[in-house]
Symmetry: D2
Subunit: 289 residues, 4 copies
């Protein structure tokens, strides 16, 4: 396929690479052109404007947040897209923005697929992301070969694009809760002189298998928060989006509030750029340790 | 081995059965004798007093809580145990009680092993419990053949008995947090018209595998809280014990407080005997659904 | 003085009336002209555009929120103000907006005074508001005669305009906390069959005198939330602004999070237009009553 | 009247003095006899056993907590009280204990009046306590002259003794909430460079008059937590009793949970013996200040 790609952050670059490797033609645009150059060697065509990337069969965008998407699209990108074009937005944006953005596409006859992903940069590089996609079935069908190059599985959440964003935010909310919980449990264990590793051995081999409890648990057990795989500051962004999505439907998320406060505590102590697991340090500090 | 067994609740009975099936001699005592009778057919000897069970090589007890243990042992059980006797206490008791109880054993030269278990009654029946054991290594070694008949794995947490209780409570705290989180996530999803099952498909096949997210998630998705596998009222008991253990070492557990409040809400609405997953109903109610 | 007045909500109209009664010339503008007409009888001059009101010696504006202020000022109002003009903004706006808005005034040489007020509409009508003012001393001095017609006391918080907004939000945060606390206390008392009025008699005549505890306490005791003096929905707006102001300086406000969740619960149950005291109903519902 | 008095902590001693000064005969007992001696000079009779004090017309007791009351009364005090005797228990005890204790009195035909008080030691010394009394009207009538010597006002809460304890705990819960709120507000203000004293001037002269906001607010503004008038550790005791009373009637108190966590944080940092206002320090620490 003839694919445009916008946004080459650490996630975006790996994703674009995998699309290239799968044999698709890719025109890439990034605010800073240098980040795009390594892709040229892999066969990508570097273009000068977002509009140049927003053409062909479909475009994938992977931008940082609502503001970044708004800024790139403020140039009227949607007004000049070809007929029957598919735009796949992989960014974790707010539900409110996702909804409005979907309507803007619809008004112009552009197919809009929300396809936020789960997985850290190393998972993206391996082409093993979990993709949560929503939008018109036919539109997803058309880009499915590209999605298959990016992720190990695409979960389809229905025809309403922002539903994919809700699922993504709910998943990250659950992740945030688990990390905070591990931090609090660690403080409790330490208060009684019990090793966090003993606790982790028990739970990760029984009720809580999987990467979250073992991965973040290990970081907390080792009190090691750098280098960050998923920064506390970005974790707060996602918790904030979940709280906003919940507020929009008058839904209290008390756990979300707790995690938000702990993340603010982390940031206030200069740990915003450290790994999300730094919540363990916050819990320890609350307990005077 | 010649084993005494005290306490035949739904967990205790299955455990005693598995000990019998493994070929050990078992003298059983239970407050209500009828509950003990089915074990007689399997070869157990029914005894009339706790003291009759607190003899032989070792005794296992599985009583409801601190108060139940205290009551049974108030009769001076510890004063007449044979030399070199091992008492394995499988109950989920408070850390403070566990510590004091361990000292009482030590003062009388009785070996004390704290061995709380993880797993619901069906897991107990299958002999697949996760056992968290702490106490003198030699004492655990002696009862290990019996523990092997009960659980799929014994995790040893060191020589300080109450450490096993801390780990158990921390694990149940993590469980409680996960269930509350699923409840809140469900309310968020419902508020946007997204199916909980879609969300569960994504997370249980990626970041959150394992029985907790899929099992409790399913109950919440189906809004089905009976019959209860793990009752909300008993969940509150464990959260309360975790909060007390944390308070004893001046450790705030904000997530614990949130879950406690939600469980009180459930109980206030008459749902204390329903499954722990009823936290999903509480979260939905808070959102006016 | 020759005063312009923008924004005639229930607060604004009473304030404008008091300025008129104090003998000042007042040109008023409101989005809906009908609301302005009663003031004509009192001597006000009704003008057709915000710009007509943004002239003379000074202008006072009392608009609903950031968005309303932004919209009215988007027409370039600041670009045509006379030299040495003073703008007094009485709205409860976000701290971030207040700061940016102050800079916009400064860039154009317009004196900007932030003067949010405390007090319900009946207090505004009586000219007894508590005014929290910040901005250049000389600018406040010039409008002080007008402020004296509006409030019983002007508290000066220094030269940085948004500081007045911070104080206002902190005060409303404290108010919100007190109302939530009264709601929770009421649920506790009811659970033990104790009359809320007995409790209120004790505390309002001893440690908690003043209008908040007696006023909101009475509404909760009587379970009477209409007509609303201060709507739950607007209370949530202020709590949200306090949380945002706190987040901007990485400050957790756990109490703020609790109140936010309770207010969402109220709104989810259709009580957003009822009095803030409806938090008492939320607390009772949590307790199954 | 012929009065017995048990328990001469800092509150008890001032109360006993005021009873003596009002002309009543007072037999005093205290665990440590030295603390009682200063009262001898004022005309008190020092007695050797609690039973010696639990005689005459009535006895007042002011002990630290449930455990202290239980210990003193474990000696069978209630079994030997004279007919028609009135016992006035001024301690802040748990509601559950108060209820059981009232029943024990009733079973023996002893009149039981629960009369917890509000006010710090200096208020007690001045005879200006706020007394919250519950029990049979006739019994309170009989001791009213003594209560009048102790407090400026006795609030009668009905015939069920423990209702007085519920009111007392609810009042202290409200106090705790106000102090936490002031702490959080202070952190918010500091984050924006606004003086806490400016904020306090505004609110204590308008919506929040009275001793709580001005008194605790001043301590927080001055970051001065010693000497303690009301220790954080004792504040936690009262919050814990309020949470327990609420749990007994399945009533969530989210604000209570927040304050409990903050107090644990204070204690974990070695500030348990400092004034309750040290919650301001906790809030500042959470914000990295």
């Amino acid at each position: 396929m003839d694919i445009g790609f916008i946004g080459l952050g650490s996630m975006g670059r790996s994703i674009a690479e995998n699309i290239l490797k799968a044999g698709h033609g890719v025109r890439v645009w990034n605010r800073s052109r240098e980040r795009a150059q390594p892709l040229e060697a892999l066969g990508a065509k570097l273009v000068d404007t977002p509009a140049d990337a927003f053409s062909g069969d479909a475009a994938f965008s992977m931008l940082a947040d609502d503001a970044a998407v708004r800024e790139v699209f403020a140039t009227g990108l949607l007004d000049h897209a070809p007929r029957d074009f598919v735009h796949v937005n992989m960014a974790t944006v707010s539900v409110a923005f996702a909804e409005a953005f979907a309507r803007e596409h619809e008004a112009r006859g552009i197919h809009y697929v929300a396809a936020p992903v789960m997985g850290r940069p190393d998972v993206a590089a391996a082409g093993k992301l979990t993709i949560i996609a929503a939008g018109a079935s036919a539109a997803i069908d058309r880009v499915q070969p590209v999605l298959d190059a990016i992720g190990q599985k695409t979960w389809r959440i229905g025809a309403t694009p922002q539903h994919a964003n809700v699922v993504k935010l709910a998943a990250n909310f659950a992740l945030a809760s688990a990390v905070e919980t591990l931090g609090e449990a660690s403080a409790l264990l330490a208060g009684h002189g019990v090793a966090m590793t003993d606790f982790l051995d028990v739970i990760t081999n029984s009720v809580f298998p999987g990467p979250v409890y073992s991965g973040y648990g290990k970081l907390i057990a080792e009190d090691r928060y750098e280098p960050a795989q998923f920064k506390a500051r970005l974790g707060l962004k996602d918790v904030r989006l979940a709280l906003a999505a919940a507020e929009a439907c008058s839904t209290p998320l008390p756990i979300g509030s707790v995690v938000r406060d702990s993340l603010l505590d982390a940031i206030a102590h200069g740990d915003g750029e450290k790994d999300f697991a730094v919540l363990g340090k916050v819990a320890a500090r609350r307990a005077g340790r």
